[in-house]
Amino acid sequence: MEVLILSRLQFAAATFFHFLFVPLTLGLSILVAIMQTKWYTSGDEEYKRMAKFWGKLFLINFGLGIVTGITLEFQFGTNWSRYSAYVGDIFGSLLAIEATLAFFLESTFIAVWVFGWERISPKLHLASIWLVAFASNMSAYWIISANAWMQHPVGYVVRNGRAELSDFIAVITQRFAVIEFIHTVSGAYILAGFFVMGISAYHLLKKQHVSFFSKSFRLALAFALIFSLFEVVQGHLNGAEVAATQPTKLAAMESHWKTEKYAPIYAFVIPKLSGEGNLVQILPIPGALSMLAYHTPSAEVKGLSDFKPEDRPPVFLTFAAFRTMVALGFLFVVLTIYGFVIRKKLTEHPKYLRIMLLAIPLPYIANEAGWMLAEVGRQPWLVWGLMRTSAGVSPVDPSQVAVSLIAFILFYGLLGAVAFWLMARFAKKGPAPATAAA
């Protein structure tokens, strides 16, 4: 029991920390590649300076994404050995393929990009940043198809006391994986867009490097606007997929207790921290939950009361994570549409710029909340319907896990502080002067 709690906390800490860096890698790699492409095609030196400036921030972030990813792969073995032995046939192969197909490409060509400015042809150099962007996004697909398999296992048979692969294509092309991937990377692109907009806003407020940061802002705005709008529509598909595959997660997301037709969504809900039901639920929108889940207002949505307590996920966390994510998602739409309207005269709207600067952390919160919903809402299952979390943990001594957990928290806390301090420092410093960039 003790090992279970400690291992869960450790994995939560390690994944949360990892995902502080991953989304920016996924999105900013593409933005930097676009900037460099603009320089390559137009010859406009400002775009080269943009690629270098944002590239520098990208690299500070990239390093931590890589090193924290390594620990995750190994933690399946150290802390979740029963799980690893049970599902390695499927889950392990996805991780191994990710490494050979994507991780090598990403790690090798990032170095080519960093060290290759003077060493290789501009064309090859441009190709290397696109390869990094492509590889990191492809890497996300493999990792997410592995996660999707835990959420909704397909293409397997239980044989020899474990889950064995029976249909590889089903595993890597299942609807759950595709939808989860699109949702995750779109969230990452929004984060990258807000990151660039926020830092640009800082300099625009100070009226420095106005042309440089107006261009950066507008590029990021276009990116963030498209994906913020897309995410709202797409998020709806995600909800429907969860309804179809994970009814307890759906019920916990909305803290929905009673099985009913025309199930409402309450505008304001406070779930009880322990026990059944909600403390407060007011302002129902009739049929909205049925609509969200099954696209028809009369559909019956099963409530948590109809599931055994041991089969329910922790309701409060799942619920709070979902609401936070959705509220922020809509806020991103509002902020980017407003930005689009005033995009030509950004410096005349200092209030908006100040909001955008302060908004930098929000997509981080939304991204983490999304994962919290996905993972906490999956409980008590480690692999949905197949293996409970409690059955997957390693038979190791709790003191070992306690020590490593404390080490993780201290160590990651320090590293995170250093990384964000460095990013802030370089972000404030601004780009190198135009003359030195050539």
Partner: protein, 341 residues
């Protein structure tokens, strides 16, 4: 048959990992001893710059392949070596961050701090990988349930420590040769002297390890049964002698290729001796994990083999291209205003 192919690939992946990351772990370990001033320290960092990240992915792949091809072995091995592996992971994190952040801020405190962390983060994995593999070679106390019946200190037995020292010394030698190739001026000359000096303990440790393996492990059984396999340790031995000879000739790349052969030969010496075991149990032979009782299903092994046969050569090809592109000595001008992490 599929299991055997995967066993060979598994061993090769670890061997390539040690050959490649070995030199940058070694160079990081040597940093406080070999670099006398700020310019030389930068030179050490730059010499690893374009390579270390790609090298480390071989570790991810070796780990991933252990997971995919032999999940039960992955599960038992990694949970048994819990504390040792956590130490390796923390060390590798520190080291990666040191490589990337050290030159981001001017200031003695900042740089000196990262230099120490680079040293610790390089030396610890070098030592611990050796300890871990030596323990795998001789077997660890796991029961038939796959539960480890020992502590971190169980691993620090004489044979384990000998393995650790051998790896540490080998990587330092390998790293010194790499620094000799990539650096210039006094650092280059010093790196050559370091390599010459390090070769002596390396020889002693290698011989000691080969002898100790006779008494502490079962590794030689396969060699006695199939004599043609002696070719594998012979690669390590020939490499060890050749590298010293090339070093004397001043043929630095050949020196490095020969020490690469030592890293590959030494790893495969153990792996071939281990076959068909992946993780022998020192408590009960029935508890040993072998390629037969720990492997994935034939379907997974086949799919993975397809991926590996296509992608690994591609990876090797573009990594060779990268090594070729950045093969030159680091220049003084690059140290001042060159690109980098």
């Amino acid at each position: 048959m599929l299991e055997t192919i995967w066993f060979v690939l598994w061993g090769l992946l670890w061997a390539i990992y040690f050959m490649l990351d070995g030199f940058d772990l070694g160079a990081g370990t040597l940093l406080p001893f070999i670099a006398k001033d700020e310019q030389e320290k930068r030179l050490v960092y730059k010499s690893m710059g374009p390579f270390w990240d790609g090298n480390e992915v071989w570790l991810i792949t070796a780990g991933g392949v252990t997971f995919a091809a032999f999940p039960t072995a992955y599960a038992v091995m990694f949970s048994s070596l819990y504390s040792a592996l956590m130490l390796v992971l923390f060390a590798l994190i520190i080291r990666g961050v040191a490589l990337e952040y050290r030159n981001k801020v001017e200031g003695h405190g900042w740089r000196d701090g990262w230099d120490i962390l680079l040293f610790v983060g390089s030396a610890a994995p070098a030592l611990l990988f050796g300890v871990a593999f030596a323990n795998i070679f001789q077997g660890i106390p796991i029961d038939t349930e796959g539960v480890y019946r020992g502590t971190l200190f169980t691993l620090l037995n004489p044979y384990g420590l000998l393995g650790g020292l051998l790896f540490l010394c080998l990587f330092c030698y390998h790293g010194a040769v790499w620094l000799a190739i990539k650096s210039f001026g006094e650092l280059k000359e010093r790196a050559i002297i370091f390599a010459k000096v390090l070769w002596v303990p390396l020889l002693i440790l290698a011989v000691a390890f080969l002898v100790a393996s006779w008494f502490a492990t079962n590794l030689y059984a396969n060699y006695l049964a199939i004599p043609v396999l002696w070719i594998v340790p012979a690669i390590a031995v020939v490499g060890l002698l050749a590298t010293r000879w090339f070093l004397e000739q001043g043929a630095l790349w050949n020196t490095w290729f020969a020490s690469s052969a030592v890293a590959v030969g030494a790893t495969l010496f153990g792996v071939v001796g281990l076959f068909p075991n992946l993780l022998p149990s020192s408590l009960d032979p029935k508890a040993s994990l072998t390629i037969y009782n720990a492997a994935s299903s034939p379907l997974t092994l086949k799919i993975m083999l397809g991926v590996a046969l296509i992608m690994v050569p591609v990876v090797i090809a573009y990594q060779i291209w990268v090594y070729h592109t950045f093969r030159h000595e680091v220049t003084a001008e690059e140290l001042v205003n060159g690109e980098g992490y």
